[in-house]
């Protein structure tokens, strides 16, 4: 069972990496297309390039943020200045705050992705709810990660006793 989960995690990571690489290449190519069309005065114009690049940037942000969950920038002022036990309490508190924040984000993102299913972007007709799905996925990953952190530190404490 553990093995299956491990494999699943491995393939999930590979899938996300593949998506992130494709997104960045997509951003590069669409932006270059936009320059080329304008600079070489090509006989057609592509109204969708900017919109598509922005769409990809939204996915890069939220998918990328989910991928590096646990490695986000934080301030290490307390590290090494207080006892490990106090540090653990600070850690639990920090994770609970994150849970609280991301449950709000998740809720709002779900509301938005349902409310905007009938709206489309002007040039490419991308469904607006697909922008919010990225936010929801990201919030869900953060929520699960932070909950797991809290439960894990509780369990470790139990073993120590």
């Amino acid at each position: 069972m553990g093995n299956i989960i491990k494999n699943l995690k491995f393939y999930m990571n590979k899938l996300i990496e593949f998506s992130l690489v494709s997104i960045l290449i997509g951003i590069l190519v669409t932006t270059l297309l936009q320059v080329a069309v304008r600079y070489f005065r090509l006989p057609f114009h592509l109204p969708w390039t900017e919109e598509f690049a922005r769409f990809l940037n939204v996915w890069l942000t939220f998918l990328g943020a989910a991928y590096i969950v646990g490695n986000h920038i934080s301030v290490d002022i307390l590290e090494g200045r207080i006892t490990p036990k106090a540090m653990k309490i600070v850690g639990i508190f920090s994770n609970l705050i994150s849970c609280f924040f991301f449950s709000f984000v998740l809720w709002g993102a779900l509301v938005m992705s349902i409310a905007q299913t009938h709206l489309f972007t002007p040039a490419m007709r991308i469904n607006m709810s697909s922008f919010y799905v990225a936010v929801a996925i990201s919030a869900l990953v953060f929520l699960v990660y932070n909950l797991k952190q809290v439960l894990d530190s509780k369990r470790r404490q139990g073993v120590e006793k």
């Binding site: 990496e17 992130l20 690489v21 997104i23 960045l24 290449i25 951003i27 590069l28 932006t31 270059l32 936009q34 320059v35 600079y39 900017e50 690049a53 922005r54 769409f55 940037n57 939204v58 890069l60 942000t61 939220f62 998918l63 990328g64 943020a65 991928y67 590096i68 490695n71 986000h72 920038i73 934080s74 301030v75 290490d76 002022i77 307390l78 590290e79 600070v90 850690g91 508190f93 920090s94 705050i97 994150s98 609280f100 924040f101 991301f102 709000f104 984000v105 809720w107 709002g108 993102a109 509301v111 938005m112 409310a115 922008f131 919010y132 990225a134 936010v135 929801a136």
Partner: protein, 431 residues
């Protein structure tokens, strides 16, 4: 009242940051707090996802992943090695040459990528170990590594200035153009400081190898340096937007690094993945900070704050100096990007009320926030340098003191003579 709640929200943010809550979550939770206490905000449940999404659904913000990518490409061993070489040959034979190199290399990589911490971890670090091997004092060299990294904030293309431009609604081209002269001033000041210190502390020097090897090394560095030219000419010539310039620089560097510098296409993939990781950590903060910025605009808190300050004093200079001090203190606690994202929407109303030019104001504020990276007790560049060089924190601070003369002098000049920052933007883009 709204000013009071704004202060409370900032306090909540600082407390959460202090308790090791990730920066993005701290800003987000403070925004939620602000939403609740200021009341009367319709449909508050959708504000978070709505404005987080719109924060990054922006063509200008696309410059961030693209310039992070540029940074990854030029920091690859095979490219950065070739970028070092000509500088080493040109100034290595001066007394204290390797520390001059540290300054110049930072200046050069600043012109290529634009992230202070990346510079301290990457190229500057390499020069530091080169210098220590050549017999330089370890502490002196570590201090040079830390201070020189600050150039990335001020020499275009600078990511902090992009973020200032987006959040305070100032033209990014103008901000970049305006930061060129201050950047050169700081670089020159640092180099003079090194030259003086080199005489006083008797630093070693290397042999001059002759002009032929110098020209040869220039030949190998030239293709990568051309990327700087592409960005500068493209943006300052008004040919492309910063985003497009970044994309052109990326594709140019990919082509150059596979053909001229012989980096295989397979090696490009890990670079793209690191680009995604690094940009996501910045972009996510950008997204959340946009919620904060929106609430500020919606409630009109920044204007209320400035008006209440104007009630106390109407002297623009006094206000300017106060802002600089506050930013300096905040800059020691928070890291550059998040701090800019939090304060720029608040401060963006200041030029309107005081008559300070918004371009000059943006550059000075971003620079001051950058100074915070070098100021104890929490200056982040100092921590990073301590980690990569192994030199204790306080020793770096003590050895870095002479460089502060330059930093303070430049700051005073910029505040006293805004023309320094306005000359080039007016030249490039007209008044």
């Amino acid at each position: 009242m709204i000013v009071f709640w704004l202060g409370a929200a900032v306090l909540v943010m600082l407390i959460l940051l202090f308790l090791k809550v990730p920066v993005a979550v701290s800003i987000g939770s403070a925004s939620l707090f602000f939403i609740f206490v200021s009341g009367n905000i319709p449909r508050w449940e959708i504000i978070l996802p709505l404005h987080m999404m719109y924060g990054v659904n922006s063509f200008v913000i696309l410059t961030i992943p693209l310039f992070v990518w540029v940074g990854q490409l030029v920091c690859h061993d095979k490219v950065s090695k070739n970028l070092f070489a000509p500088i080493r040959q040109a100034v290595g034979w001066w007394r204290g040459g390797l520390m001059q190199i540290n300054m110049l290399v930072s200046g050069k990589f600043a012109a290529l990528s634009g992230s202070a911490v990346a510079d301290a971890v990457g190229p500057s670090r390499a020069v530091h170990f080169m210098a220590v091997e050549a017999g330089y004092n370890k502490e002196d060299s570590a201090a040079a590594t830390a201070v020189s990294s600050i150039l990335s904030i001020i020499i275009p293309p600078s990511i902090p200035l992009i973020l200032w431009g987006v959040t305070a609604e100032v033209s990014i081209g103008r901000l970049w153009a305006g930061s060129i002269i201050p950047g050169i001033m700081i670089l020159t000041g640092f180099m003079v400081t090194v030259a003086v210190l080199a005489r006083m502390r008797n630093y070693p020097k290397e042999k001059f190898l002759g002009f032929r090897p110098l020209l040869k090394s220039l030949y190998y560095a030239f293709p990568a340096l051309l990327a700087v030219l592409i960005v500068w000419v493209g943006v300052f010539g008004g040919i492309v937007t910063p985003t497009e310039a970044a994309a052109v620089a990326v594709i140019y560097l990919i082509i150059i690094s596979t053909t001229f510098y012989r980096i295989s296409l397979k090696e490009q993939i890990p670079m793209i993945i690191s680009t995604a990781k690094e940009s996501a950590s910045i972009l996510f903060i950008v997204a959340v900070a946009n919620v904060f910025a929106w609430i500020l605009t919606f409630t009109g808190a920044p204007a209320a704050l400035v008006e209440s300050i104007l009630g106390l004093t109407s002297d623009p200079l006094l206000i300017y100096v106060t802002i600089i001090f506050v930013l300096l203190i905040l800059g020691t606690i928070m890291e550059t990007i998040s701090l800019i994202l939090v304060v720029a929407p608040i401060l963006s109303v200041v030029p309107e009320y005081t008559g300070i030019d918004p371009v000059s104001f943006g550059i000075v504020c971003s620079l001051v926030i950058g100074y915070g990276l070098l100021t104890p007790p929490f200056g982040m560049l100092l921590f990073v340098t301590q980690r990569v060089t192994g030199v204790p924190y306080m020793k770096i601070v003590r050895k870095a003191l002479p460089y502060f003369i330059t930093l303070i002098l430049v700051l005073i000049l910029l505040v006293a003579f805004p023309q320094i920052t306005l000359y080039l933007p007016n030249l490039f883009y007209g008044k």
